[in-house]
Amino acid sequence: MTTEYFRWTEYAWKNPDKDWQKADTLVAGIDVGSVSSQAVVLADDEIYCYSNARTGSNSPDSAKNALGMALKDTDIKQENLQFVVGTGYGRVNIPMSNKAITEIACHARGANYMGGPTIRTILDMGGQDLKGIHCDERGKVTQFLMNDKCAAGTGRGMEVMAELLQVPIVDVGQMSLDVEEEPPPVSSTCVIFAKSEAIGLLRKGWTKNMVLAAYCSAMAHRVVGLLERIGIEKDFTITGGISKNIGVTSRILKELKVDSVPLKPDPQIAGALGASVFARDLLLKSRK
């Protein structure tokens, strides 16, 4: 079988210290993105389990798959979930969800949960979109800005580059930093143009690391442009799949001259986590 360099490992996590049966509320958030899908189950206000899976060709199956993975090592059944909020690109097609809320609102809420009430600016770097989001101390969105329809500088573009250079996608970031001197960025983050430019650079004798450095820095530069349009207020944090690519994030922070608040347990679940927090709020509100 040929290696699929773009492919990352799916995973799930379960909180070993929590007994969900003792929880008053048990809710879930499911984020079906364009590239990856996550499910988070919240027992009271604590994360009980979560998963991160690849999005398939249709939203309902991707949602089922992500939720199934999150629940796999637990004895929770879908009917035990008292409220489910769907979010992400496929949010309107999540069969088990009681309500759909946009990923913009959910990312802010999820980042607020993980990073605390001081978070004011969130950069979500997803598979297909880039979003700059401002929120208040409760994680409520006050302003946002999204990239246009092109996938330049998103996770999908990074996958194309990993395939072209035959570098496992999880290694891209570190390898891009492993250069003696920072090369000039590629001139376009457009996936198609950048790909032809990268082929040209390889032919010129550039190493893979240098090409990756040039691509990561072009992507970082594009993101900084988006963020500067909306403005950075501290604290700043990054969510989404690309937040795990140190080659891109370190260059963004360097250019912006700010630090980012690390999100624990996982910056990629911010959307699904935010959805689960909304689910809990909505459930509690319905009981009143």
Binding site: Y89, T102, I104, A105, D129, K140, V141, M146, F278, L282
Partner: protein, 375 residues
């Protein structure tokens, strides 16, 4: 069939309507690019003025004629001509607005066969006290060209009648807009847009008749929907009904607008005067301007803010056709103005086709910013 359904029907069959009109009346049809063609003069010549619009379909026929950096609306309109959808036109006129639509016009003149193709200059310095005189000169030439095409003179009586009919049209549409101030407007933004766009395509006598029917129907009309957030739409050319419908389905209502298929097109009337052409020219010089012909921001912005407040809007969708620089220059200032008055704004950039999924996310998130307060 209700008046609203009739507008919808005519818009969907606009070419058929124009062709039927020709057959019914034996008159000629003149297409217009942008909204600076003096409709009164065309109508007084016994002709039907119709605005040339696009269809929002993917097309590649204009690639050889216009740069891809020309605004999508202008490419879309040229595509309609190239595809032969306006073959029934006897003439095409343009009142100068921007260089992009001029590209449409120039290519139409060179590559699409239409009997009369006429370019009406518009004074670059609209604010000049001599602007009206300048435009009267242009209108005189246009009037002569139309007379030559029909072989009949355009009389003062004819102009008076046309002025009266179009003023009535504007007044009636304003009355409909007034009803949109209601807490629960009896007409959606998409329906109101169909009303205005059809006024750019229909015989004004027939449109006025439908408006009178509409004004009888509206007071008793109850919409089976929540009004939701009251929004305003501001920007460049906009006749994408499907987009407005999608937007309103997400839980908001467009209660007022400021663009050339809405208020900006019909708001101002002609003040009749002894010199008919001067009266008409004065209307087009002093009308609610397209930013492409106006370098005076404050004049337009004051009007924008006033209708936003009068119609009690809770948010504004500011959109632009991609590459429409005159509108794009306005955006930072508009956003700033609205911010000072606590009206949140959402900015969207339109292309011939739009990414419905991503736009939907942005609009929903915008609505949630207001709605999720309750959580």
């Amino acid at each position: 069939m209700s008046a609203i359904e009739k507008f919808h029907d005519i818009l969907a069959n606009r070419h058929q309507y124009a062709m039927d009109w020709k057959e019914r009346t034996g008159g000629k049809v003149v297409g217009g690019l942008c909204t600076y063609v003096p409709l009164e003069i065309v109508y007084a010549a016994g002709m039907l003025p119709v605005r040339v619009l696009g269809t929002h379909e993917v097309q590649d026929v204009t690639d050889r004629y216009l740069f891809p950096t020309v605004c999508p609306f202008c490419r879309d309109t040229l595509a309609q001509g190239l595809k032969g959808r306006y073959d029934y036109l006897d003439g095409l006129a343009m009142g100068r607005t921007c260089s992009h639509i001029q590209g449409t016009f120039d290519n139409w003149r060179n590559y699409i066969s239409t009997t009369l193709v006429y370019y009406i200059w518009f004074p670059c310095h609209r604010e000049s006290p001599r602007a009206v005189d300048c435009l009267v000169g242009e209108y005189t030439g246009f009037k002569e060209a139309l007379e030559k095409l029909t072989g009949k003179p355009i009389t003062d009586d004819g102009l008076d009648k046309a002025i009266e009919l179009y003023n009535t049209n504007r007044r009636l549409m304003k009355q409909v807009y007034e009803l949109r101030k209601n807490e629960d407007p009896p007409i959606t933004g998409a329906e109101a847009m169909e009303m205005v766009v059809t006024s750019q395509l229909m015989d004004v006598v027939e449109h006025n008749k439908l408006l009178e029917e509409l004004l009888e129907e509206l007071p008793d009309r109850k919409l089976d929907r929540e009004t939701g957030l009251r929004l305003m739409m501001i920007g460049s050319e906009m006749d994408d009904i499907e987009f407005v419908q999608m937007m309103e389905e997400l839980g908001c209502t467009i209660v007022i607008d400021e663009h050339c298929s809405g208020s900006r097109f019909f708001w101002d009337e002609v003040v009749p005067g002894e010199d008919r052409l001067a009266a008409i020219a004065s209307r087009y010089v002093h009308r609610w301007p397209c930013p492409a012909v106006s370098s005076n921001f404050s004049d337009r912005f004051d009007r924008v803010l006033k209708i936003a407040q009068d119609w009690n809007v809770q948010g504004a969708l500011v959109y632009q056709q991609k590459f429409c620089d005159p509108h794009e220059f306005d955006i930072p200032l508009l956003q700033q103005m609205f911010k000072e008055h606590d009206i949140p704004t959402l900015v969207l950039e339109f292309d011939v086709t739009i990414p419905f999924g991503q736009f939907r996310t942005r609009i929903e998130a915008f609505l949630e910013m207001a709605e999720l307060e309750v959580l």
